[in-house]
């Protein structure tokens, strides 16, 4: 028994590869757990949690119009999560997606204001998209440049860039580009994305992006470089990769995809530019990207799930007077549970038992 003091009650050891089924069972379990904790929050408001979840499902999926609205929420989430994935893979904490979306939308609006009515619809939309790619890309490139050159803190840098571009758009909206009472003019039909199956065709664009991103991350040299840098910058340098250059390239790509997302929100959903065009998508998309383990196909499911939560919480507010910010609480809880559950996938706990004590004694 003299060894008892040296053997902790619980020891940890790295687990060998777990079976795929068990991993997904743990992940689904953690999602269920977060929804159960969400029940407690709804109970505090004095409502029946099961009825509340019922209202949320009804309001987001129970009808063609509701479903279309939910998908409209999911489209930019998915697009933006795809943009964030390569940065996070590289361990570059880009939380400036919000600003890169706004910058993209600003670029597209500039083209629309210059060329609307002078070009046919298709070339106009393509030019707007191109401008969004360039503007979003540059807005992502700036923090990456300073990170690559002088290793400045990218988390805060990208975040501050959000406030700056949002302020600039706010100025345009209230000043030079104002049409009436702090709003800009609505785009003409030429500058608006056409509808396919009742929803603006942005959903086709993001689904194509899913395929491209999957291919890019898994099968290209650039995707491999991103993964190596994410694991170890030193390894990447020793292998002869230009870490700074890859960082800047990846952030341009990320900003560009955010720009496309901004163009989709602008031209597909809103039809005009406003300073709140991103409306928190850039932050929620971080959750989508991380919950899907940076897997583009999983992002489709997760972005739909969060869209259901968001749309459902809106319905809950109008029907049961529960504040719509409930969706943010549940999204936060989801993330906490998913982050925590990775531990049980990667480690196993060894409890102190008589058997191990005997083994120790025998030694």
């Amino acid at each position: 028994m003299k060894h008892e003091a040296n053997t902790p009650l619980i020891r940890l050891a790295k687990r060998d590869a777990m079976s795929g089924g068990a991993i997904w069972a743990i992940r689904v379990g953690s999602i269920v757990l977060s929804l159960l904790i969400g029940c407690l929050v709804i109970l505090i408001t004095g409502n029946n949690p099961f009825k509340a979840y019922g209202v949320m499902i009804q309001g987001s999926l129970g009808g063609k119009v509701y479903l279309q609205q939910t998908i409209k929420i999911a489209i930019p989430l998915l697009g933006c999560a795809l943009a964030i994935a390569p940065c996070f893979k590289m361990r570059f904490w880009n939380i400036g997606a919000e600003g890169q979306i706004t910058a993209g939308a600003l670029g597209a609006t500039l083209i629309a204001r210059l060329l609307d009515g002078k070009l046919p619809s298709l070339p106009l939309l393509l030019l707007m998209c191109l401008a969004a790619i360039v503007a979003g890309g540059i807005w992502g490139l700036i923090p990456a440049f300073f990170k690559a050159k002088w290793n400045s803190n990218e988390t805060l840098f990208t975040l501050m860039m959000n406030y700056i571009i949002i302020g600039v758009v706010g100025w345009l909206q209230n000043g030079p580009w104002e049409a009436r009472q702090g709003r800009m003019a609505q785009f003409s039909k030429d500058a608006t994305l056409p509808k396919v199956l009742g929803i603006h065709c942005g959903w086709i664009i993001v689904l194509v992006l899913v395929l491209l991103m999957f291919f890019y991350m898994r099968y290209t040299k650039q995707g491999f470089e991103i993964a190596v840098i994410g694991d170890s910058k030193n390894t990447a340098s020793y292998a002869g990769m230009k870490v700074g250059y890859v960082m800047m390239r990846t952030m341009f790509l990320s900003g560009a995809i955010c720009g496309i997302t901004g163009f989709i929100i602008l031209s597909g959903a809103n039809g005009t530019l406003a300073s709140n065009i991103a409306n928190g998508v850039g932050f929620t998309a971080i959750t989508v990207a991380w919950l899907s383990q940076l897997n583009p196909f999983a992002m489709i499911v997760i972005s739909m799930m969060l869209a259901i939560l968001t749309k459902g919480a809106d319905t809950l507010q109008t029907q049961m007077n529960v504040p719509a910010s409930l969706s943010n609480i549940i999204i936060g809880l989801l993330l906490f549970c998913m982050l925590g559950c990775e531990f049980f996938i990667n480690f196993k706990m060894i409890f102190r038992s008589r058997k191990t004590e005997k083994e120790v004694d025998a030694k």
Partner: protein, 331 residues
């Protein structure tokens, strides 16, 4: 000339009142980061502190009615905010220290969760109270007015500058000095810094790494949350205002870098940032539109980030293990 001086005094007083929430937010995060934990959830923590601090005073006044005492009300607000922030940071510590989750993502998750909880609580109180939640004017003055007698504040020029601020500013000063002494002059403060610089060495020296990380993060989170409460009770005059509070927590994280992890520097750093936040109102320039003027603090923050990364001075660096996980088994 007197007009200019009076304007300047007004600006400084306003800068201090806007800087005080930042000061608490920053001091809390400095304590957290000294343990090597990078908690990016300050934004969410300050939201929770604001909502729960306001809720604490609101329900305290509802309970005792006319007999409400200003000092007790302030203590209730501080305590409610501290508990909310400590709880949020406990989640962070549990996930990052015990369950070894990534600190960046956990911090971002805490930001989303905390802003959600803050807004939810703020709105729920409004719905439950049927109208909007605020406290009586008699109690409000304790939060926004100076604790010093009129004779002192009436001294020309210096009276307002030295004695014209809310009680929280003076508490913040004491806290900054106290934290400076704790980190540099006490044994346990040294232990904490050792954990943040090199957890493996600290562990070998017999310092309990996990306990230090937990304690610093939880207390730091509580202090940051008090900053959110101060914003809501003094600047937003006791009405839940999530738009005003948005972004303050992130500025506090930036201010930690600006102050080079030194508690004493937060005093002037937060006043400077408070001035940047309020300049567009108190010091309007006709040739700069308001929307552009408002982004000033963020532009300055970026400039600061670039400048601090340019100068590679050895004693001006973050704690060496900041943001890195420590697993004893992987040494």
């Amino acid at each position: 000339m007197t007009g200019f001086i009076n304007g300047l005094i007004l600006l400084i007083v306003a800068a201090i009142s806007y800087g005080t929430p930042l000061m608490f937010g920053t001091l809390g995060e400095i304590l957290t980061e000294k343990s090597g934990n990078l908690n990016l959830g300050v934004e969410g923590i300050m939201f929770m502190g604001g909502a729960f601090g306001l809720g604490g005073v609101f329900y305290y006044e509802k309970l005792v009615g006319e007999n409400a005492n200003g000092v007790v009300a302030i203590l209730v607000a501080i305590l409610a905010a501290f508990i909310a922030g400590a709880f949020a940071s406990l989640i962070f510590s549990f996930l990052t220290t015990t369950l070894r989750a990534n600190q960046n993502v956990t911090g971002l998750a805490l930001s989303i969760f905390g802003t959600g909880v803050g807004q939810f609580t703020g709105e729920l109180m409004r719905v439950k109270a049927g109208g909007y939640v605020t406290i009586s004017n008699g109690l409000k003055v304790f939060f926004s007015n100076t604790p010093f007698p009129k004779a002192l504040t009436d001294i020309p020029y210096v009276g307002q500058l030295l004695f014209g601020h809310s009680v929280f500013f003076y508490l913040g000063l004491l806290l900054a000095i106290g934290m400076h002494l704790y980190l540099n002059k006490t044994r346990s403060g040294m232990f904490l810094k050792a954990v943040g610089e090199n957890p493996a060495t600290a562990d070998a020296a017999g310092i309990n790494v996990a306990r230090n990380k937990y304690a610093a993060t939880i207390i730091g989170g509580g202090i940051s949350a008090i900053g959110g409460m101060i914003y809501i009770t003094s600047i937003a005059s006791c009405v839940w205002n999530h738009e005003g509070l948005a972004g303050v927590g992130w500025l506090a994280v930036a201010l930690v870098i600006f102050c080079l992890w030194r508690p004493l520097s937060t005093i002037w750093g937060s006043i400077l940032f408070g001035a940047l936040m309020i300049m567009y109102l108190r010091f309007p320039l006709p040739f700069i539109p308001t929307d552009i003027y408002k982004i000033l603090p963020y532009v300055v923050t970026i400039a600061v980030l670039i400048l601090t990364s340019l100068r590679n001075n050895k004693d001006k660096q973050p704690p060496a293990s900041l943001g890195l996980p420590y697993f004893r088994e992987e040494r």
